[in-house]
Each structure stands twice: as structure tokens, then as C-alpha cells.
């Protein structure tokens, strides 16, 4: 059992007289000091009662605990400081092990998204705890193994609370591409408008009508009716293609205008997600943001909300027709590629109803209709035979 040892002191004019009295109490006194008429005794705490009971002429005062009790007393005395210190250390450890920003360093958005998704799956996200070097290395290897055709190399660089992920994309060069034999075929029916070919034998002329699937440029180069060389036909063949679009335009339409009323709100943003702090007071409004604070991935904005009002307007017949043609063109433009263009349009039919106008628009488009179609050697040889 651990005895509680203490130091007590008492005023004492005659040390020898005091010791004589003390011996009859049969106490265990581990140390005795006598300095400036004050006697100091190192005793067990339970013996203090005995001292006070039998030596009534002396006034004993406990001055300090020893051993573990002294330590406990000191801890009790400084408990607020110690709690703050422990809390501070814990907070420091948590903060220094927290990830506040993840930088995926690569110019390709697709690669960045793949890596971000994978990191999220492995629990590496903002405000999560940092992983050890061993774990990061394992994750790195697993991601590289998962995308062998997309990722060539990857590394984690932990810089304080920021994790930088450096990635190299794997670019696979198709070595077989040159050996490929292909034709350019028509994807749509139309009249040939323009031919731009860098490789292959052109089989059509401008103003020829071609049907979908017709071969426009052949990959088999012939000379004197003999197959001399195989290649992959390359180029662009444009044709005039026709579209018909049916559009129905209501005479009445709505528009939002700003009323001039303005309210402010506070917004914080983390990882692209905006959250408003105050409740919205307008049902419909336009927003503009001003950045107030930016800490790592956290942004704090003041939002200016301008109230908008819905207004019903009415088209005249000419305006409705114009709007209808515009919508018809827009509906066709969605289907067109970057090299295609609308040459002309014409309204074929116009029906005016009570509240709507139905129109049928004929649209002429100059469109890229050629696409590469691979042909196998067997097919070629069969064709020769």
C-alpha cells in the first residue's frame, strides 16, 4: 500500500524537549530538520492526527505532500492550465494532421476528375485526416493499377496541410494505325459540296449525289486497274444536306426584369458548394458575389440579390415568325459539327392559331458527311477476286 508521506512544521523553542515528547508517541519520523526555531518533520499523513492530539502545545501545519500525492496536488492546482494545454496539444495534432486542400496537378480535366473521385473513395478529402506515407503509397499503386491505360505515373506530395497530387497521363501511341486500311464513306445522303483529301483515291466529284454508306474516298490506290497500295483514306468531304424543322411558337411569352429592389446575404463556399447564411427574401432574383475572405478551400462572399419580376409580353405575327425561324435554326445547329454551316432556310408552311403559330422550316446545310471505315485485308482480297 502506498503511504502518504507529508512534511509538517511547527514552532519549537526547545528541540530536545520536543524530540523527547515525540518518542513516546511511537511514530515513524523519516526526517527531522530544525531551522530557525521551527522543526520540520517528514511523517505519514495518518500520524499528523496523533501529533495534533498528543502534542497540543505545538501547532502543526502541513506544508507539502510528497511522492505521487504531491504530483496529484500540483496537477489539481494547475488543472485549468493542464486542460488547456492538453486540449491545445490535441487541437494542434488534429490540425497538423488535417488536409485542408488537395491540389491535383494536371492540365487534363478528365484526369483530374478521375483522381479526385478515386481520392474521395480512399478517404482523402478536404477536412479529413492525413494518411501515412505507407498508406499513400499503397493508394497510389492501387490507382495506377486501376487505370493502366490512362495514368503513367503519380505521386503524393504532402506539404503541411496541403496534399499535392502530381499525375502523368499515359499517352498510348497506336502503332498499328499506320497499318490500318480504311475508306471514307458517307454518313448521310446529299450533294457533294467540297472535297478536301490528304490520302486515298477520290471516287466522287462535286455536285454528285451520294447516298448514306457510299464510299467517297477509297483506301485502295489503284493504277492501271491494279491494286498498287493500301492506305487509310483521310480527308473531309462536305455535302449539301436538307433538314425540315417544325416549330410551334406561342404569341405570349414571359420575360424577367429587375425591379430595382436589392438585398444582401452572406454565402460561404467549400469545394464548389455555396451555402447561404441568411434566408432568401425574394422569390426570384439575380445574384452577384463579392469575395470577402478566402482561406484554403473556403470562400466567404457577400451576395447582392436584385429582385426580378415576371412580365408577360405578346409577339406580333412577324416577330413570332422570326422567333420561330430562330428556334428552328437553333434546333438544327445543335446537331451540327464544328465544320458544318447553315447555307439557307425557307419557311415551307405557316399556320396561325389563336394563341400559337406553327411553322415548317426547310434548312439547307453544308455538312461534313465523310467518316473513316476500316476494311480488313480479307475483305480487300475477296473484293479483288
Amino acid at each position: 500500500m502506498n503511504k502518504k508521506i507529508i512534511w509538517v512544521k511547527s514552532k519549537c523553542n526547545d528541540y530536545y524537549k520536543f524530540i523527547k515528547k515525540l518518542q513516546y508517541l511511537n511514530l515513524s519520523i523519516m526526517d527531522i530538520k530544525y531551522i530557525n526555531k521551527i522543526v520540520y518533520l517528514k511523517i505519514e499523513e495518518k500520524d499528523l492526527e496523533k501529533l495534533e492530539k498528543y502534542l497540543v502545545s505545538y501547532k502543526f501545519k502541513k506544508i507539502k505532500d510528497l511522492g505521487i500525492y504531491n504530483l496529484i496536488d500540483k496537477l489539481k492546482l494547475n488543472k485549468i492550465f493542464l486542460i488547456c494545454l492538453i486540449f491545445g496539444i490535441i487541437l494542434f495534432i488534429i490540425c497538423s494532421n488535417l488536409v485542408v486542400k488537395i491540389n491535383i496537378i494536371h492540365e487534363n480535366k478528365e484526369i483530374r476528375e478521375i483522381i479526385a473521385d478515386e481520392l474521395n473513395e480512399y478517404g482523402i478529402k478536404v477536412l479529413s485526416l492525413k494518411k501515412s506515407y505507407k498508406e499513400l503509397d499503397k493508394i497510389r499503386q492501387e490507382i495506377l493499377d486501376k487505370y493502366p491505360d490512362k495514368l503513367d505515373w503519380m505521386e503524393f506530395d504532402v506539404d503541411g496541410m496541403i496534399v499535392n497530387v502530381r499525375v502523368e497521363e499515359r499517352i498510348i501511341t497506336d502503332t498499328t494505325k499506320k497499318d490500318k486500311v480504311c475508306d471514307l464513306v458517307a454518313t448521310k445522303s446529299g450533294i457533294i459540296n467540297d472535297i478536301l483529301v490528304s490520302e486515298g483515291d477520290i471516287l466522287v466529284n462535286i455536285n454528285d449525289y451520294v447516298r448514306e454508306g457510299d464510299t467517297l474516298v477509297s483506301g485502295i490506290i489503284t493504277y492501271n486497274e491494279e491494286n498498287k497500295r493500301y492506305t487509310c483514306a483521310n480527308g473531309r468531304v462536305f455535302a449539301t444536306v436538307w433538314y425540315t424543322a417544325n416549330v410551334s411558337i406561342p404569341f405570349e411569352y414571359s420575360e424577367y426584369i429587375e425591379t430595382g429592389e436589392k438585398k444582401y446575404n452572406f454565402v460561404w463556399e467549400n469545394a464548389g458548394n455555396k451555402k447561404r447564411i441568411l434566408k432568401d427574401r425574394f422569390t426570384s432574383y439575380n445574384s452577384s458575389y463579392k469575395n470577402l475572405l478566402s482561406i484554403f478551400d473556403f470562400e466567404f462572399y457577400v451576395e447582392t440579390q436584385k429582385e426580378t419580376k415576371k412580365i408577360i409580353k405578346t409577339y406580333t405575327e412577324e416577330e413570332a415568325l422570326e422567333e420561330g425561324i430562330k428556334k428552328a435554326i437553333e434546333s438544327i445547329e445543335v446537331k451540327l459539327g464544328e465544320f458544318d454551316e447553315i447555307i439557307d432556310q425557307k419557311v415551307l408552311k405557316k399556320t396561325v392559331n389563336d394563341s400559337t403559330m406553327d411553322i415548317e422550316v426547310f434548312i439547307i446545310v453544308k455538312e461534313l458527311i465523310s467518316t473513316q471505315k476500316e476494311i480488313t485485308i480479307e475483305n480487300i482480297e475477296e473484293g479483288i477476286e
Binding site: Y16, I19, M30, D31, I32, Y34
Partner: protein, 81 residues
Amino acid sequence: MHIKESLINFLYDKDYFINIFENYIHVFNFRELKSLSSKKIILKLDTFTLDIEGNDLFITKMLPNEVLIKGSISKVGFIYE
């Protein structure tokens, strides 16, 4: 008999011993402190009385059966009654 005595001696440590150092004297198994002053301390043991003389004699440790005395010790005497 020898074993019994050894066992009793081990369990009930009745033997006294006196260690004398340069400025200390340690007495184990004393019975009573008969006299105490800065120049003379008399301790009673089972079979004799220990008479310690010196200057600035001072008790630094006192347990029920042992005592440690500090001071410049000039004479230690055994008085058999």
C-alpha cells in the same frame, strides 16, 4: 532447533546493530531514548545502555525501533547494568 531459531530471528528481528559513520550513528532495535541533549544522548537497548557523547547531536530520523543521530561524535560507550 537451529532452523527454528533462524526463522524466529528472521521473522522477529530482535538483534540490535549499531553503525557508526563519520558524522552519523545509526542504532537499530533500541528500546528507549533515556536522555537527549546536544552533547549527550543515552539510548536503552535490551541488555545494555548506549551512551553517545559529542557536539551538536541531532536526531534526523526516528522510527519506533531505530534512530539516526547526526553530529560530531566523540565517544560511544556501552554500559551494562
